[in-house]
Structure formats: structure tokens, C-alpha cells
Amino acid sequence: MSLFQFKKIGVVLGICILSGCGGSSDPDPAVDPLDRVPMLTNWADNIIIPAYDNFNAKLGTMTTKADAFTSTPNETTLAGFRTSWKDAYIDWQRVELFEFGPGDRNTIRNFFNIYPADEAGIVQNISDPAVNLALPVSYARQGFPALDYLINGLADSDQGIITLYTTDSDASKRIAYIDKLVDRMNSLLTTVISDWKGSYRSTFISSTGLDIGSSTSNVVNAYTLNYERFIRSGKIGIPSGAMTTSGGVKYPEKVEAYYKRDISLTLAKTAHQATVDFFNGKGFVTGTEGPSLKSYLDALDAKDVSTGTPLSQIINNQFSSSALKFDLLGENLHDQVINNNQSMIDTYNELQKAVRMLKVDMTSAMSITITYTDNDGD
């Protein structure tokens, strides 16, 4: 932590000398590398909103295919639903990290991607048309994991699955449940996107502080939490038993997309790449880098004092090392855990190295407080 403190103080003092620290008479924002407005604007306009739009399109396609399946369940419509589900699930990974602002207000992740799916709860919900899906107990009974179970996991064969939506006595209830889940995903996403495109965008950009509740603080907290809990732990650490809390017990059934199985690595890699791209401020459509966590850390001159290496470079190097570990894994992480778990543990260990860099070094350099942990001991 203190490694980066000294350099940061140095640059802050340097800037004070140049600008005179005149409070409201700050230098022209256009030339102030520590001005956060361009970074917030780049995030909102070039990354977050386009990423949500992209995901919304994928969810739209999935909705069409889901409707086709529920109106006429057969092998063709099932295949179409599955493909569109997979495509949407992959692009969900590129927005899941935006759990701040409207995403946080609606806790959209809780309703889109809490896994492993609660099979017994899903069965229970299917039999209760009035079930309240907003309660925490229903998190793992909806969203992509529940759909995964419903279209990939209900029976061993495709024909067996189709039977459950056609001639089985509960077929209409299952169809109704799929419709309900897909509707809910659409309505939640619509709320989040319309908030972003409505008043929240300017709220976000105009909240330029670093204190708790400011946009930058919210983003950094959500970003770090997503990396730590939902990429490192959720996708790799928990299934492989690499977490110290699991005592080495493997949970291959807790991989993401457990029923589809052969996309779990793609989901993990996509989420990891989204983390990297966000760090570098890479435009979702343009692919061009803009003001970002990287450029902000560089403006702070945050670096390892012993080697002089910029913190942003250290973090990017670590991201690259993690990506190399992902490349050694098979597409099916469930089988990977069972057959060669060491490579999962190696990946976890590599991912773990960036947690400290993001959660301690980056937040310390930026003067951001991590707010999502509760360690006060009572």
C-alpha cells in the first residue's frame, strides 16, 4: 500500500505548485490530467451505454428465439433458443462489471447471473405462478443459470427436454416460467438502460469527487468487487476449491453454465477481457483507448518506487499473465476441475495477484475507500 503513497504525494504537490492550488480557480480542465470528467464521460458514452446496447440486442434475439421455442417447442426452436441464450450470456459478461448506478440500484446481477442454479427452487417456482422473483431466495432461480437448467439440464436428451415442454403434465407451467424469466430479464435491462440514457448519465458525469458515493468511488468499488468475487472466486476459485475458505474441496458443479458446460471458459475469458478493456478505457465500439483507470493512475504517477514501473503497467502485465493461464484451460471448466484441477488452481493464483493491485494499490493511489467489505468484527 505505502509503496505507491510516496510517489503520489510527490505528484500532487507538483501539481499544486503549478496550479497554485487555487480551489475553484483550477487550471483549464482540458489540460488537467487529473480531471475526472473526461474519464467518467468516456466510461458512460463509449463503454457502458454501448455495451448495454449491445447486450440488449443479444437479449432481444434471445427473447425472439425463446418465444419461438415456447410457442412451438421442438428440436429446431430449442437449438435456436440455446444459441441465442449462449450469445446473450457471453455478452452479459461484458456488462456484468457495471454494477453501479442503475445496475446497482436494480441489483441486476442478482437477477441475471447467480449460480449454481437452485434446481429445487426452480421446480418449486414453476408450480407457483404467483412467486415473487424479487426476493433474494429467488436469485438463483432466474436469469441465465435458471435458463441453462431449463433448456440444457432438465433431461439427458434433447427429445427428453422437449417432452417436458410438450406432452408432460407440467409443460405449460414450464413454458410460462421461461416466459416469465425472459420477460423479467427484459424489463430489468430496460430499466437500467433507460436510467443510463435518462438523467443518470449526467448525474454520473457530474459526480466528480472521490468520496464514498461519488461516481469514481462507486465504479472502482464495483469493478474491484466484480473482479474479486465474480471472476476470480465465482468462475475459478470456488469450482476448483482454490479458495482458502473451501479447504481444498472441489465443486465442479458450481461452474458457470454448468448444464451447457462447454462455454464456461469462454464466459470467464470474456469477463476477464472486459475487465482489462475497462481498465484501459477501450471504447466498446471503437476499440480506441480513452481516459481510464490506466491514464488516471499514470497522471497520478503511481509507480513501484523500487523499480519505477508504473502501476498501470504492473496491472496490465498481471492481466496478461492471467490471460495466458486461461489459454491453458479447456472449454469445459467442469471437466477441467475433474481432470486437471491444477491448471484451474494456477489460474486462480494468477488472478489473485491482481486483487491486491486493484483493491489496495490502485485504490490507495486514487484515495478511494473500499466500501463493500464488513470487517468491523461485530
Partner: protein, 396 residues
């Protein structure tokens, strides 16, 4: 120096004093003035305020004794929960009112209590709890005592696993049949009803009108000096509040140099911008009392009161957010909402920001007023509570 300046205007002041029936300006100051610039922000509180003979004029016993009673009351419940043993509501009520010699020795890494000295201290928690409310205090005291009944009932299920409609433990947390972690309700409600109310709404408001021109019989302090010191002593047991403490990115107790309990720890955790100004404010206000500098006394009291209220409001918001936080387990959510509900209860004592009982109860009912309480919570209810608090406290 101040006294020399006054001489030429003595006649004018005397006339004013007669007209205003205000003898403060004519009565001699009790002590020589203190230069604010000599106050030491890392120097123990009691050392900095002395009489002509060099003896301290500070007596923190009353404040510290109540602070320790608060710790002991909380420890009685927490130690039983840890040990999976029953909690007695009667014992909690005795600890609350200091009747029947209820306190025993406690020695842990964070608590050091000598039972006999609290038993014989002559102070209690109950009679100052919500005391700014006058006759309205009874409702608060009765509510806390019903919480004692609630936790005692829940503790009968301490070896069970809690679920919807059933008391028991969620991991290490004991919750009642509505999923409410009552120990948190009690502890966090007392941060408001005891610490915030007595410090802010009594000692640092009405209490500032106390006499400051004579020492209390048999004591080395004036009534006003003692009110200020009692406020400090109820906030912290430390000679320097948050001595040598810096902001930590991880917000953990380990990063805090001093052990603090109750309001003192949450001021640090939830008012990062201002916690370091609390000790200087206590010192300056106390020096201003010595100097009879009313404007300065008022300024420091207002700062302390305002920022303590904001810390508690932000704590409430922080715990509502923790209920929402991605990856939160049921146990985490129950613990977060237990803390949050207690802080929201405490906000009725945030008088500077206009908090009152009806407003606070409205938020609590909106959160957990339904049949199964915690188990019925959803993000819409959490957002409504957060929005109401943010609006009241002008928090972004």
C-alpha cells in the same frame, strides 16, 4: 489579554449586562485564557486543561463509566451468542438501569471493565437514554427493553439454524423469528439513543447553558466544563480520540490505531472527511469554555453534532448497500440489515438534520414491517429507505 481589552468597555458592558440581565459578561472568568494554537492534537485531553495549581480540571469518569456500561451490556449478549447460551432479559434490564449490582469484570482484547466500579459509579444508561425527549424518552426506553425480551426469546433458539419464520443462527449471527439480528438493533439503537442523544442533544446543546463561573462543590471543574468532558468521555475511552489514526482503504479496525466502540468507531468508518477533526473540535470547544468564548463553543458543538449525525446516516446507508452487495449471502444480508435498522432507529435523534421518531419508524416499517420482516426484503424496499435517508441528510 482578553481581560485587558475589556477594561475600556467595562461601563458599556455593565449597562448591557443590566439590560440583558446577563451576568456572564460581568462575572470573572474562572481561569486564565488558553491560546487555541497551543492545543495539542496528539496530547491527552485531560493534560491540556488544568487549574492554577496545575491539577487537571477534567473528570471523565461519568462519561467513561457509561461508555463501559454500554460495552458491558453489549458483551453480555454477544458472549452468550458466541457460547450458544441463553440471554436473560432481566439481566439486560438490570445492566441498562444499573440495579442489583449487575456488572461483572470483563477483560478481552477490546474491553476492560471492572464490575464493582461500574456498580458503585452512581450512573446508569437508562436515565440518560433519549433524555432530550423529556416524557418521550419512556417510549424509547420501553422499546429497548422490549428488544431485550426479543433477544432473550431468540436466544432460546441459539443452537438452531434460522429460517423464514424461525429464530436461530445464520452462521454466527443470532436472529429472531423475523430474521432480525436483535443484538445489532440494541447496539446500534443505543449509538443514537444513548451516545448521539446525550452527547449532542443534551450535553452539547442545553448543557452548554450550564454555569461556568464557579466550580461545582467539591470538584475542580465548572458545570459547563464537566458537561463537555462528559460528552467526550461518553464518546471514547481514549485520552486522544483516534490517536494517530489514518484513513484505510480497507476500512478495517486493524487499520485504526485506537480501539473505539459505538459511535466513536462509526465516526471513523463513515465520516472519512471529518473524523480527524473531532478531537481538535473537542479540544477547541473545551478551551473556548475556559475562555468563555461562546461563539467558538457553539461552533465546535455544532461541528461535532452535525458530523456525528452524518456519520450515523452514512452508516445506515452503508449497511443498506451491504445488503445489496454482489455476492452477499443470507447471513451477510441479515447482519447488514440488523446494523442498518439500528442506525436508522438512531437517526430519530439526528435533530440538526430534522430526524424524528415518525420519520425513522416509517423507514423501518417500510423495510421490515411485513409479516416475515427480513425474509420479505427486496431491493425496492432497500432503495426506498436509502432514498429517504439521502434526501433528509442531503447525501448524494
Amino acid at each position: 489579554m482578553l481581560k485587558m481589552l475589556r477594561k475600556p468597555t467595562f461601563a458599556a458592558l455593565a449597562i448591557l449586562a443590566l439590560a440583558a440581565c446577563d451576568d456572564d459578561e460581568t462575572a470573572p472568568d474562572l481561569r486564565a485564557d488558553i491560546d487555541y494554537s497551543v492545543l495539542g492534537n496528539q496530547t491527552p485531553y485531560s493534560e491540556q486543561f488544568v487549574d492554577e495549581a496545575g491539577a487537571t480540571t477534567v473528570d471523565l469518569a461519568d462519561g467513561n463509566n457509561r461508555h463501559k456500561m454500554f460495552q458491558a451490556l453489549n458483551y453480555y449478549s454477544s458472549s452468550n451468542i458466541t457460547a450458544n447460551t441463553a440471554i436473560s432479559a432481566e439481566q439486560l434490564k438490570k445492566l441498562f438501569s444499573n440495579t442489583g449490582n449487575p456488572f461483572v469484570d470483563i477483560s478481552t482484547s477490546t474491553i476492560s471493565v471492572t464490575g464493582s466500579s461500574l456498580n458503585s459509579s452512581g450512573v446508569q444508561l437508562k436515565n440518560v437514554t433519549a433524555s432530550s425527549l423529556g416524557s418521550g424518552a419512556d417510549a424509547v426506553r420501553t422499546k429497548l427493553e422490549s428488544d431485550f425480551d426479543d433477544i432473550a426469546t431468540a436466544s432460546l433458539s441459539v443452537t438452531q439454524v434460522a429460517e423464514k419464520g424461525k429464530a436461530g443462527k445464520l452462521a454466527t449471527y443470532l436472529v429472531d423469528d423475523r430474521g432480525i439480528e436483535t443484538i445489532q438493533i440494541i447496539q446500534k439503537s443505543l449509538i443514537g439513543a444513548l451516545q448521539l442523544d446525550y452527547i449532542s442533544n443534551v450535553l452539547l446543546s442545553e448543557g452548554l447553558k450550564a454555569d461556568n463561573h464557579s466550580v461545582v462543590s467539591g470538584k475542580n471543574y465548572s458545570a459547563l466544563e464537566h458537561n463537555w468532558d462528559e460528552a467526550y468521555g461518553l464518546l471514547t475511552l481514549n485520552p486522544v480520540y483516534l490517536y494517530n489514526t489514518t484513513t484505510s482503504v480497507a476500512s478495517t479496525d486493524a487499520a485504526r490505531a485506537t480501539v473505539e466502540f459505538g459511535a466513536g468507531s462509526y465516526i471513523w468508518e463513515y465520516n472519512k472527511a471529518n473524523y480527524a477533526k473531532f478531537y481538535p473540535a473537542f479540544l477547541k470547544g473545551r478551551a473556548a469554555i475556559v475562555n468563555n468564548d461562546k461563539a467558538e463553543i457553539e461552533a465546535q458543538a455544532t461541528f461535532i453534532r452535525t458530523q456525528m449525525e452524518l456519520a450515523i446516516a452514512r452508516a445506515a446507508l452503508g449497511y443498506l448497500d451491504k445488503w445489496k452487495a454482489g455476492g452477499a449471502q443470507v447471513k451477510d444480508q441479515a447482519h447488514a440489515i440488523g446494523e442498518g435498522l439500528g442506525f436508522i432507529y438512531s437517526l430519530r435523534f439526528a435533530k440538526i438534520h430534522g430526524g424524528d421518531a415518525a420519520w425513522s419508524d416509517g423507514i423501518i416499517n417500510g423495510l421490515v414491517g411485513s409479516e416475515f420482516g427480513f425474509w420479505d426484503l427486496d431491493v425496492t424496499k432497500i432503495n426506498a429507505a436509502s432514498d429517504a435517508i439521502k434526501a433528509k441528510f442531503s447525501i448524494q
